[in-house]
Amino acid sequence: MADAIPPPPHEHLRNPATRHALRIQSTLLDGAREYLSGQDFVELLPPIIGPVTDPGGRGAKQADVDYYGHPYKLMTSAILYKQAALLAFDKIFYIAPNVRLEPMTTAGTDRHLAEFHQIDVEAAGASRDEALGLVEGLLRHAVGRVVAELPEPLAALGRDPSALLDALEQPFEQLSHAKAVGLLHGLGHDQSPDSEINWSGEALLSREAHRPFFVTDYPKGSRGFYDRESATEPGLLRNFDLIAPEGFGELCSGGERESSYPRIIARMRETGENPAKYGWYLDAVRQGIPPSAGFGIGVQRLLRYVTGLAAVWQVSAYPKLPGMASP
């Protein structure tokens, strides 16, 4: 059980648990880069600010930046830039910092930070199945490196390496959103079939699982405009989340992307967006961007799962909890 509030940096950074977690993070990121480079992905440096960013957060506010008098935003995710970056290379990734001013309702989830990082991957012409395969391969490789190279920090944190390897060894199961909703209803849990799996429902599914698993086919109306709507099953999105076992919850979101201009305009309206502000992105889309699939893995969430620590702030050097002014 973690404290609800992170201690000051002088105490937090000298805590052995923090130092073990940060050592593991370094190896995890090294493993992720090694795996993606081996698959011919090019690492790019992520943008930090822009006139628009990913609008898809669940009630999270974007952080405003006064950019020479123009209202800019800190990146909530690099999704729009990832799609545009495919004009340069077919396979790209970022290790990207993001800021989302999450609502206070996330305070009890133990897995929300206002500032966090993602391993952000996008591949031109890829399908959802290929993206799922990449997620699995990346996790197996990166966590495998941690288990092989850092047994002592894992042991110090009380994490059983063989259990981690066992969880990642088998192909991850896939569960459609509709089936996940059915499972939750079977457990007596209130869950709207039109919405994201709610925080408590996700925790419930995660606690019941022994291995990571994918939830696929989220309904339109639960995600941003860039997740592609199925051509054969209208109303369903060709997307996915990866849920960790043991109650650690969501680690990753991804999917196939919309790339057609009129589809993106219509989806923007369906998600309440005003297309006018997406000028540069829509110009690029109008001139043609490749269809693609990709995903973003939350670095701190993955690290929390690998270390087994109770709260996500414990794995961040400078944790910023929603609503709390922190260094």
Binding site: G59, K61, L101, P103, M104, S195
Partner: protein, 457 residues
């Protein structure tokens, strides 16, 4: 010296109510015994400028309707049995559920937008609406024009100042605030801002925060919000919004027009809607803000019934319909008279029996509210009336005004032999030319245990 004016609206009558409270619902007491009063359906709204009026201002389909009490009143008998004494109008219980909020009255305060009038009185209205325990809508444009008020001093016009004024005055468990967002407001992330703000968390945690998707409005059906900006504000917003220098005469910026001192018109886009766009926007609101209520505001459109049905089916807690008589904001002149369905026609087309329907449009006294409720509305919105009442007395004007309206409602509802506002129905209304009901056999006294009077709004 009052500043607000409301041509075509029974302004003096509203001001009298804001000064006198329930007493203003009756003829002047000093006239008792010395003046003969009687119905004057065609009479002026404001008899001899005294501010006393019997509710026949203007003339629309709702004004033409009459509330028609019956002789036989089975629901009065139920109340008599409950109480063990003859019920009076004091026994009418006016509290109801409005869009997921418990409200002390079947009333709410409509959005004022960012019009200067609404902004200047926003705090006074917010505080008194909170104290009354009735829901309040905060209009679009407030954040883009007046700011949110979190960094630096909290300006009186800011959204946060209004939220705090309301929350500070509201009794526990009563009322709630609905924050509007229009298509262009999405750029300012108004809902994300409020939902993630620790200052709004108490309202959210107590179930008293809603977000209202603004699809349209009564005063300008089919158009977006309009704001007249002064030169300084216009300079600040240049490049972010479409600003039209229409007041300088020829639009050239040469200043040859009416001497409006550099003021410009900001005309916001109304946004594009199809059934699917409306449905998915509502679903996304429920997805992104699961702990907030979802309201949808429609203009008096010819397809208002279809749009409301889509909104309710997608999970909206309330649909607000603003009749063509509504509006507090600045609007192009032709739209006042010739665009949009009258409120009564909206209510007839909606033919609502069970969903939470909220309506607004020149509502200021009890008969119009009662008629709206009888036609299927859950509550009626106060726009100009709330502003005028607060303008008359920023401390107590709206409280007294609502007290008068509540008094009238209790009288009217009890006169119809009913004791909850939701019990009103079409049988309580009559229009000129409407044929009489066929004669029915006298009804037997109802079995009290089988009473079906709705107890919720």
């Amino acid at each position: 010296m009052n500043r607000l004016r409301a041509p075509g609206f029974p302004e003096e009558a509203v001001r009298r109510r804001a000064r006198q409270g329930p007493a203003a619902g009756y003829p002047p007491a000093a006239d008792y015994g010395g003046t003969l009063f009687g119905a004057d359906p065609a009479g002026p709204a404001d008899s001899a400028g005294s501010g006393w009026a019997a509710g026949h201002a203007g003339a629309d389909q709702l004004d033409a309707a009459r509330l028609v009490p019956p002789v036989f009143m089975p629901q009065r008998l139920e109340k008599l049995i409950d109480l063990g004494r003859e019920p009076t109008h004091r026994d009418v219980e006016l509290d109801t559920l409005i869009g997921g909020f418990r409200s002390s009255l079947p009333l709410y305060v409509s959005a004022f937008g960012s019009t200067v009038a609404g902004s200047d009185l926003g705090l006074a209205v917010s505080r008194q609406a909170g104290e009354l325990g009735i829901p309040m809508v905060i209009g679009e444009n407030v954040v883009p024009v007046a700011g949110y008020g979190r960094l630096g001093p909290t300006g009186d016009r800011s959204l946060l100042a209004r939220l705090r004024a309301y929350a500070g005055a509201a009794p526990p468990g009563l009322g709630g605030v609905a924050v509007q967002q229009s298509t262009e407001d999405a750029d300012a992330e108004v809902w994300n801002l409020v939902y993630s703000d620790p200052a709004a968390h108490e309202l959210l945690a107590s179930g008293r925060l809603a977000f209202e998707l603004k699809v349209g409005q009564g005063a300008k059906p089919g158009l977006g919000g309009m704001t007249v900006l002064d030169a300084d504000t216009a300079a600040r917003l240049t490049g972010r919004y479409q600003l039209d220098p229409i007041f300088d005469g020829d639009g050239s910026g040469s200043g040859s027009g009416d001497g409006s001192g550099g003021r410009v018109l900001r005309a916001a886009t109304p946004g594009t809607y199809t059934e699917e766009i409306l449905r998915q926007q509502i679903r996304l609101m429920r997805n992104n803000f699961p702990e907030a209520r979802v309201w949808v505001k429609l203009h008096p459109a010819r397809d208002v019934r279809d749009a409301a049905a889509v909104a309710w089916a997608a999970g909206a807690d309330a649909v607000t319909v603003d009749g063509a008589e509504g509006g507090t904001g600045w609007a192009p002149l032709p739209a006042f008279a010739h665009v949009g369905l009258p409120l009564a026609e909206c209510l007839l087309r909606l033919d609502n029996r069970s969903d939470c329907l909220l309506v607004s449009g020149r509502v200021w006294e009890g008969t119009r509210v009662a008629k709206c409720l009888a036609l299927g509305a859950r509550a009626a919105g106060l726009g100009r009336a709330a502003l005028l009442a607060a303008d008359e007395d920023p401390d107590r004007g709206l409280l007294r005004f609502a007290g008068c309206l509540a008094e009238e409602l209790r009288l009217l509802v009890s006169a119809l032999g009913k004791y909850r506002p939701a019990a009103l129905g079409r049988e309580d209304l009559w229009w000129p030319g409407q044929p009489p009901e066929p004669a029915a056999a006298p009804a037997a006294a109802p079995d009290r245990t089988a009473a079906t009077c709705r107890t919720e709004g």
